[in-house]
């Protein structure tokens, strides 16, 4: 069996396991939808006002997408790793030809499929409910895919270094929430203290948000990086971070007790 065959077997099992957990499926899609309804349709943006949501609706598209690109892999991977560990599934898999990177790749593929569908739903709802005018750039596909790879790696690390499913979910929330709001998603850099900027630059989600905004929001003022178009440059930075996160995530998956 080739590497692809092993990944396919693991992906198929992971996908079936996910779609048969109806509650998980429902809330995976419900979470971003309710967020768009609350922020986009009820609170609404106010470009002439002050405080939060003062940018046009299209500015916040990366934020809405980040909800699923960040939270779904963190919580799903964290709890999946913990579930595998608690059920001695890693002990079993360690004695099969499946390697840790292959396992993580398969789980990433499942997450990419789920998040791809959720992203389509989000984009549709944002346009429909907020009237956001966005460009449907083909760069959205690699951004979402690479974002998923990056945060699946981080989620695998969270699951590996926490001692239970509860711990993994709590850790993913504790890390995900600050990242979501402090990565130029919903809050622009100008609204944060100047000393905070270096911290914002440490977040992989920042490059996702900047790049997606540059690709989809025609009025965006995202700066170029070393003279390179911001939509491509931020994708490059995100890719580098994803490679590191995936490698560290795969390495962290337990093979022994």
């Amino acid at each position: 069996m080739s590497r692809m065959g092993r990944v396919r077997a693991e992906t198929t099992a992971g996908w079936r396991s996910f779609i048969r957990r109806r509650t998980a499926v429902f809330f995976t899609f419900f979470f971003p939808v309710i967020l768009i309804v609350i922020f986009g349709a009820l609170i609404r943006t106010d470009p002439t006002g002050e405080g939060l949501f003062t940018e046009p609706a299209a500015y916040y598209v990366p934020g809405y997408l980040a909800v699923v690109v960040l939270f779904t892999p963190l919580s799903r991977m964290g709890s999946e790793v913990a579930r595998h560990r608690e059920g001695s599934r890693f002990e079993k898999l360690a004695t099969t030809p499946l390697t840790r990177p292959e396992w993580l790749l398969a789980q990433t593929a499942v997450n990419a499929a789920i998040i791809g569908l959720a992203s389509l739903l989000i984009l549709g709802l944002v346009v429909l409910l907020t009237g956001a005018q966005i460009a449907f750039s083909p760069l959205l596909v690699p951004y979402i895919l690479i974002g998923v790879i990056c945060f699946c790696g981080v989620g695998a690390m969270l699951g590996s270094y926490t001692d239970s499913q509860d711990g993994a979910v709590a850790a993913s929330n504790a890390i995900g929430l600050p990242l979501l709001f402090l990565s130029e998603t919903f809050i622009s850099l100008s609204q944060l203290p100047g000393w905070f900027e270096p911290l914002v630059n440490l977040s992989p989600l920042t490059y996702f948000a900047r790049g997606v905004r540059a690709a989809t929001y025609t009025d965006a003022t995202t700066p170029a990086v070393a003279g390179v178009d911001p939509a491509l440059a931020n994708l490059g930075i995100l890719t580098a971070l994803a490679v590191v996160a995936f490698a560290l995530g795969a390495r962290s998956i337990p093979r022994t007790d």
Binding site: M1, R20, G87, R89, K92, T96
Partner: protein, 330 residues
């Protein structure tokens, strides 16, 4: 005969708990080797050390001619003790999933038939009974037709009929040349399946050999058990040693006596003795010593030794004690 599993002086500690203490064993191709021993004796740790899922602190292990970490995993099948696969895959999907991880895999339906789950093939794992779940788990180890199989308590939770299905399966695998290392608390299982048995107690392999040899060397004598309220003193004039039964035989010690070293042909003399002295009894049963006697004798001896060590303040120095024994032997 070629050794498929070879372990030498494996040691493993978790904090202050000694899980393995100089455990050595060798299992030949096609052999069924059963590890028995009390809970916490080190059976699972030994299996993990042999399958590469735990790193021993010292000692060496080789399986199928390679270190556990480097072994060709296509030739290996492992059932962890507390294995819980994805619950919302059917038994057939589960086997197909694990089959998909190997270069050369069997048809999942054939494996379902082997473990007696053809009718439950379409049922989600989480909806199977406990015994069916365990059989599905056993099936997951067979999808790659392994040369070497490690089964950590394969029949735990399985009803007697299902247990016999698994036993027959293991016997067939062994007949076909598969080497099997299993752990069990079921002495009948070990006695029926194993070519050789290793008794682990307190992290050490205190005895190993064919079941009949272990029974001969450590099982004691045959016994005639008399269900009676009479004390052993009432049998003082009987020509055989009489004692209370050992613990663990499903009876309270003061509800029976055991007559040792008695031939079945001499049971009549005991009946005459009981009637002459009007000793009331409800049942007589005669038995040869078996593996459970070996287990109780050796596990008790190890437990007593450990208690003595603890009482003498030497409890934390087990490894040192064994090394000293090794030095004396050398």
């Amino acid at each position: 005969m070629e050794a498929v599993v070879e372990a030498t002086d494996l040691e493993k500690t978790y904090g202050e708990t000694v899980a393995l203490s100089r455990a050595s064993l060798s299992v030949a191709r096609g052999e069924v080797f059963a590890l028995i021993g009390p809970n916490g004796a080190g059976k699972t740790t030994l299996v993990r050390a042999l399958t590469g899922t735990t790193e021993p602190d010292s000692g060496s292990a080789r399986i199928l001619g390679a270190s556990p970490a480097a072994v060709d995993r296509d030739r290996l099948g492992v059932l962890p003790q507390e294995f819980s696969p994805p619950g919302r895959l059917s038994a057939r999907e589960l086997l197909a999933y694990y089959a998909g991880l190997y270069d050369d895999a069997r048809d999942p339906d054939d494996v379902l038939a082997d473990v007696g789950l053809v009718d439950a093939g379409g049922t989600w794992y989480e909806d199977l009974s406990g015994g069916q779940q365990r059989r599905a788990c056993v099936g997951s180890t067979l999808v790659n037709d392994p040369d070497l199989l490690f089964l950590d308590e394969p029949t735990t939770g399985i009803d007697p009929a299902g247990r016999r299905t698994v036993w027959r399966l293991i016997e067939d695998l062994a007949d076909a040349g598969t080497t099997v290392v299993l752990t069990t608390h079921d002495m009948a299982e070990a006695e029926r399946l194993a070519d050789r048995v290793g008794l682990l107690a307190d992290g050490s392999l205190v005895a190993q050999g064919p079941p009949e040899a272990l029974v001969r060397d450590h099982g004691g004598s045959s016994r005639l058990t008399i269900e009676t309220a009479a004390a052993p003193d009432a049998f003082a004039d009987l020509a055989y040693p009489v004692e209370r039964p050992e613990r663990g035989r499903n009876r309270t010690p003061d509800s029976a006596v055991v007559v040792r070293e008695i031939d079945p042909a001499a049971i009549g003399t005991v009946v005459d003795y009981l009637e002459e002295r009007e000793i009331e009894y409800t049942e007589l049963s005669w038995a040869e010593p078996d593996l459970e006697d070996v287990y109780l004798t050796l596990a008790d001896a190890t437990e007593r030794e450990r208690t003595d060590r603890l009482e003498s303040g030497d409890g934390g120095d087990r490894g040192g004690s064994n090394l000293a024994q090794s030095g004396e032997t050398a």
